[in-house]
């Protein structure tokens, strides 16, 4: 903390002078020099507060205060009981609602599917790094979906995965029965997550490629000279060298899955079929807008905030640990 410590001469001093000018102008001429010195020291002391004030105020006024309002709102009622204190009723209703518990289960499913979402860009980046034929083309092609809006991607896959769409025609051509990709509660969530991974793995791929750039090529050459097979090179040289990159991709992919699936869900399934593709954020939107139960939606938001807090803490812990390893 710089507060109270004697600051380095250049930066804060300049700020102090500028801040003092206005006051100096209204003071009378006698004693200006003496006072200037006093103000100088005071300005030095104040500078840190002034400098952190915008950040603190933005966080407090635009983040923490609304958050507190939202939590407070979640203890009030909807409809006839608008504005009344209802205690934990909303939370009881929430955990009684099969839609909400299903949405939390789907969060769990996303966590389980995380390794797949990380492995896809990891493997493809490895192939590009190992210069498979056409690797230059793949590098740009793989990134392409990442620049498309979820709404466009959702609409395209709606057509592809329609019951009478091309995906089922392909299956039919090889003699497999049609699958109602988005109409069967057993497959719909996987279909949406699959599309999400397809749409976003380009970002992870770029991070992986950046990680590969820092790998020591001589290590791989040495392993090859020693007669290591490709899988062994990957397992014992590439993966350990990339541990920090992998951890970073894990964290960002998890955040992406938990916070940016709304567009795809909205376009592809609308939470259905049978409520099988609800995620908490979709549930919040649905209760607030479609069911006009904003207080219940606030309660769901508070629960989601708690879930994200836990996930975020775990991720911070992972990142910190990886930082120590170096």
């Amino acid at each position: 903390m710089p507060v109270g410590r004697r600051p380095p001469p250049a930066g804060p001093a300049a700020v102090g002078t500028a801040g003092g000018t206005a006051h100096a102008a209204v003071r009378t001429a006698p004693g200006r020099r003496r006072r200037t010195n006093g103000r100088f020291a005071r300005a030095d002391r104040l500078a840190p507060y002034v400098l952190v004030a915008p950040a603190v105020l933005i966080i407090a006024g635009l983040r923490l205060y609304p958050l507190a309002l939202g939590v407070n709102f979640s203890f009030t009622g909807d409809g006839d009981r608008n504005g009344q204190n209802v205690g934990l009723d909303n939370y009881a209703a929430l955990f009684d609602d099969p839609l909400f518990t299903a949405s939390l289960r789907n969060v769990g499913l996303l966590v389980l599917l995380l390794p797949v979402a990380v492995a896809v860009p990891g493997l493809l980046a490895t192939f590009i790094y190992l210069k498979v034929p056409g690797h230059r083309v793949y590098r740009s092609v793989y990134f392409f979906p990442a620049v498309l809006s979820p709404v466009i991607i959702g609409a395209v896959f709606n057509l592809l995965l329609a019951f009478d769409g091309p995906a089922n025609s392909l299956l039919g051509a090889v003699g497999l029965g049609p699958i109602d990709w988005l109409g069967d509660p057993g497959t719909a969530m996987y279909a949406v997550v699959g599309v999400h991974i397809w749409a976003t793995f380009g970002m992870g791929l770029v991070v992986f490629l950046a990680g590969f750039a820092t790998l020591d090529a001589s290590l791989i050459d040495a392993a090859r000279v020693d007669g290591a097979s490709l899988p062994k090179v990957v397992r014992h040289v590439v993966v350990p060298g990339l541990s920090r990159t992998v951890q970073f991709v894990v964290v960002t992919t998890m955040i992406g899955m938990l916070t940016s699936m709304f567009g795809l869900l909205y376009v592809m399934t609308g939470g259905g079929p049978e409520g099988s593709t609800y995620l908490p954020e979709y549930y919040i939107w649905f209760q607030q807008g479609q069911m006009s139960r904003p207080a219940l939606a606030s309660a769901a938001s508070t629960v989601l905030f708690g879930v994200m807090l836990v996930v975020g803490m775990l991720q911070l812990a992972i990142l910190r640990r990886s930082g120590r390893e170096d």
Binding site: R42, R45, L46, Y49, V50, A53, P54, L57, I58, A60, G61, L62, Y65, P66, G79, D80, N82, L99, L161, A162, F163, D164, P178, D180, W181, L182, G183, D184, P185, T269, G270, G272, P273, E274, G275, W285, Q288, G289, Q290, M291, S292, P294
Partner: protein, 422 residues
């Protein structure tokens, strides 16, 4: 030390106030302002509604030349979210558009009872029930929305059936469907239940052929027996239609808007429970299969004592916000928005069946004429009586019924519980 704290407080305080100011949202001049009325809807930006809005504005300007009217067209898929936020903060538009039924009834707290202002229009307009709750009228109907059973006369002809004599009973209907499928390959029903709307249309479109008039009236009056044989039959038929292969494939992944209607438009299905106004209606179908090929038939009789009627309600209507500065002025705008001249323009351009019973619809083809002819005997649709929450549950359960993961009895028990709690 103390002095330092004082100084920092003095410096930070204005910044803090500034921060609050920017967090307080847009200024509160929207609505309420002298001489300006703000209207929220999702229609006024449509080209087909242009002349309607012009007529309404002209009518209002004649009565109140000094008052300016500002129409704010919101995107429909976000409309109730935005409106919910406005209601929560207690400030927003003076006049707002609503869908009849649950969407309006869930928000009557934020609306002004209008019966004293609209007394003169009660006779001229139809469809008030969907905008009333607890003995009060909260909005004036603009269009009528209903669920006629449409059929494709060309497919009937191709299958060797008389297109002017559609089946009157469910058995005949099934036989006709089998004949059409064999001759043309078309499915019996076009059905999309991705959003869970399919069951609502099915219930309202075919329910009049299942429930007795007494059961029907009791249902719409709020006295609903979910375990009665008639109600159970509706859901059994829903399952039966799927298992008997009457529907197109992939019902649960087919969007009603507009994949279901596209199937009917393309002649891939012989029947569809459609709408009367806006979309999925006689005008749209007519553009694809020819206005003369669009037939409207009463629900086939399933229960022997049923007496099929056209199910319809007020479709969309304008209500007045409870927080408006001058309720009489806002109500006058609602009256202008439902004036005969304005509604005539809406009917002609948008192809909506307008709420005004004095408009002549005979020039719009046989289907529109058939619908308008049935309005005097029509009754409110079955699903419109249900709360938004029950409808949402019914949508989910209907998907489970199709996939076989819930039984009809179980679904009815859950619906009865939800309906009872509402």
């Amino acid at each position: 030390m103390k002095r330092r704290a004082l100084w920092s407080t003095a410096l930070i305080a204005p910044l803090a106030l500034y921060g609050c100011g920017s967090a307080a949202g847009p200024d509160s001049s929207e609505g309420g302002e002298e001489g300006t009325l703000v209207v929220w809807d999702w229609k006024s930006a449509d080209a087909t509604a242009e002349s309607y809005i012009e007529q309404a504005k002209a009518d209002f300007a004649e009565k109140h030349p000094d008052v300016e009217v500002e129409f704010v067209a919101q995107p429909f898929d976000q409309y109730y979210n935005l409106l919910g936020t406005a209601i929560q903060t207690g400030e927003g538009p003076d006049v707002m558009l609503f869908n009849g039924g649950g969407q309006l009834r869930d928000r009557t707290d934020a609306l002004l009872p209008l019966e004293e202002y609209l007394a003169e229009d009660m006779e001229r307009l139809a469809g008030w029930e969907a905008f009333s709750d607890g003995g009060h009228v909260y909005a004036a109907p603009v269009t009528l929305q209903g669920h006629p059973l449409y059929y494709n006369k060309a497919l009937y002809e191709e299958a060797g059936l008389d297109p002017e004599a559609p089946a009157a009973t469910w058995e005949e209907f099934l036989a006709d469907c089998a004949q059409i499928e064999e001759a043309t390959g078309a499915d019996c029903f076009a059905l999309g239940n991705k959003e869970g709307y399919g069951i609502q249309f099915f219930m309202s479109g075919l329910g009049p052929g299942i429930l007795t008039p007494d059961e029907y009236d009791a249902w719409t009056a709020g006295d609903r027996d979910w375990t009665s044989p008639g109600v159970k039959k509706i859901f059994e038929l829903w399952v039966e239609a799927e298992t008997a292969g009457l529907n197109n494939d992939g019902v649960n992944s087919t969007a009603m808007f507009n994949d279901e209607f596209a199937l009917f438009d393309a002649g891939d299905a012989a029947h569809v429970v459609g709408l009367m106004s806006d979309v999925g209606h006689w005008k749209e179908f007519g553009e694809f299969i020819g206005a003369d090929n669009v037939g409207v038939m009463p629900a086939p009789l399933v229960g022997p004592e049923a007496a099929p009627v056209l199910p319809y309600d007020g479709g969309i209507g304008y209500g007045v916000a409870e927080w408006t500065a001058d309720p009489a002025l806002a109500a006058d705008l609602v009256r202008s928005l439902t004036s005969t001249a304005a509604l005539e323009a809406f009917y002609a351009d948008a192809g909506a069946i307008a709420s005004d019973t004095t408009i002549d619809a005979s020039g719009s083809g046989p289907a529109a004429a058939a619908i308008v002819g049935q309005i005097p005997t029509g009754k409110p649709a079955l699903h419109v009586a249900l709360s938004a929450e029950t409808l949402e549950l019914m949508g989910r359960l209907s998907q489970q019924l199709l996939s076989g993961s819930v039984t009809v009895d179980d679904a009815l028990a859950q619906l009865a519980e939800s309906d009872g709690a509402a």
